[in-house]
Symmetry: C2
Subunit: 350 residues, 2 copies
């Protein structure tokens, strides 16, 4: 049968998200979900939601939520755009700034969705190898030169490593193109770069409700940038991209700052304990600023460890590329979940 | 300030969705929302929803809903893809099948979002004028030749006119490209073209929960097509494009066939009454198969009528293009809302 798809789409392998297996009793540490439930205010927002209101379209720009976000960061709502998860925002950003003449650059390894989004646009991806310790190489900016979009997760995924703020600031100031800082994991980190989105005209900082707010199932994210960039992205946005329930629930979660602080503190404390315990067992564990750790078992091959955990109903993530295959990425679970993982790990290293 | 946007995006005016005004007491007949609330099963699905489950990602392909849709239409779930509203599916379809070498053709007037989506891709839009009665011209297929994507709303928007099934079938069979039949309003019509999506490899039929299911605020739509086309669109889909609440609520609404039949029957009955009453008052009213009517007041200018209604807190839609400016598009409301509109209309024509 003849294909009418654009050749770029026919050529595309597509992005494979982490598995969502349905086995009971599984310890699921593979997609960086938060092990704690969302804020009690989320439960109340669902319980008090008037289902009859669903007959009407939502606010196309989610202004109640945008206003709350703008207040939090001391900017105007013209600096904020909401998306159906960060994925929706990433899609808009790649459609806005990449094409066969406008390439994307990124550190490698980083979020493997970026090159897929670039390929959809027929755009080249320049993967700039990170240093041995997964920090940015000294000549990163030189290597990125000529790209129109420079995309970073910070903290980085799948490594959990956070790049130095001074380095990020220099990149934002000196890069001739859009700098996208994907702060999906920033609420678990010691610092963030949100202020750069307001200080530099060419910087976009993205956040999501999926991780720190325990709302991966809701699909809600936002980006902060200059009004000119937000305006342009608005043109590409599906008219009503965030729904009534998401807007209401997202706002309820966002306003519960105490609960966010409590949950992220628990995750950080478990992260420290897991890091120390794995190192004790001979693993190389990168210093993580995210809600996961990137850990290489003794022997330099992540696969047998990944397989062993899987056989024992603990699912983590394994990336078979050359730079990542020594490692597995382990999402921070509850303390009992991490205890189970550590008990299996002790068996494994024997 | 230098723009890093693709020139196509800088040049884009963007699509303006219908207003969502917030005045109290307003009769809102401008965006084709259903005047009746969603099924009582929707209320129950919200009330019984476990908010804790939101910490986990949703099913990326919404398989419980896809299976229910496939069962209803006697196909397999490989024939079905779900979207964050039809908008999300339209975006995927235009990204899949249009670019500077692959143009889009459509009847004119039709849904004004299509040319905006084509422009985002740098693709040309060929607008093929409808006949005086807003039916397809005899040489439509010849005029569409060479386009890679042929997009129709059926029933058409903003006219409400449905194109003959035999004509649609011939187009599906003979057009060398993708035929997209956007059946947003099909549940209000006497017939539909869903079977063509399963009989022809190049046909996509789209449906939405926004209109007939009274769930515009939820953002949920689906497309039925050949497995090869669904596979290709899946590559372009955001990984988790429909959220947990939408999947649960959508399924509950979809399974309540009795309520759907009851609501659409009420809308059709009010549509017949409104059509007759406006004709009585000297309006030209096209035969509508949708949940709105396209009606031209005596005198051949829709604008003063639109303005008069608006001054009296009744909002309808006016499209100032040459082919549409004699008309206003009036969404079918409740009977009391339509009575209010008719009372004002009687004043207006005096």
């Amino acid at each position: 049968m003849k294909s009418y798809f654009r050749p770029e789409i026919d050529a595309l392998a597509g992005y494979t998200p982490g598995e969502q297996p349905k086995m009971p009793g599984l310890v699921k540490l593979n997609t960086n979900e938060n092990p704690y439930p969302p804020s009690p205010r989320v439960r109340d927002a669902v319980a008090n939601f008037d289902a009859r209101s669903l007959r009407l379209y939502p606010d196309p720009t989610a202004d109640a939520l945008r206003d709350a976000i703008a207040r939090r960061f001391g900017c105007r709502h013209e600096n904020v755009i909401c998306g159906n998860g960060s994925d929706d925002l990433l899609t808009m950003i790649f459609r806005a700034f990449t094409d066969p003449e406008r390439s994307m650059a990124m550190p490698d390894p980083a979020y493997s969705l970026y090159p897929v989004l670039a390929a959809m646009q027929g755009a080249e991806s320049r993967l700039i190898p990170l240093a041995e310790d997964f920090s940015l190489p000294g000549d990163f900016l030189e290597q990125a030169k000529g790209a129109n979009l420079l995309a970073f997760p910070r903290p980085n995924a799948p490594t959990g490593v956070s790049f130095a703020r001074e380095t990020m600031e220099r990149i934002c100031r000196d890069f001739d193109g859009i700098v996208l800082i994907d702060e999906a994991y920033a609420d678990f980190a010691d610092d963030n770069c949100l202020d750069f989105a307001l200080r530099f005209d060419n910087v976009i900082v993205m956040r999501t409700f999926s991780k720190s707010y325990s709302l991966a199932g809701l699909r809600l994210g936002y980006a902060v940038s200059s009004p000119a960039i937000v305006d342009g992205l608005m043109k590409l946005k599906d008219s009503y991209n965030t729904d009534r329930l998401s807007q209401t629930i997202g706002l309820a979660a966002f306003e519960d700052r105490g609960y966010l602080a409590e949950c992220t503190a628990k995750v950080r404390s478990t992260r420290a304990r897991l890091t120390a315990a794995l190192r004790e067992l001979g693993f190389r564990v990168l210093d993580s600023q995210a809600n996961f750790v990137f850990a290489a078992p003794p022997g330099g091959d992540g696969k047998p460890y990944f397989d062993y955990l899987r056989q024992n109903a603990v699912i983590v993530r394994y990336f078979p590329a050359p730079r990542t295959r020594a490692f597995t990425r382990i999402t921070i679970g509850t303390d009992p979940e991490i205890d189970r993982l550590l008990a299996l790990t002790r068996e494994f290293v024997k």
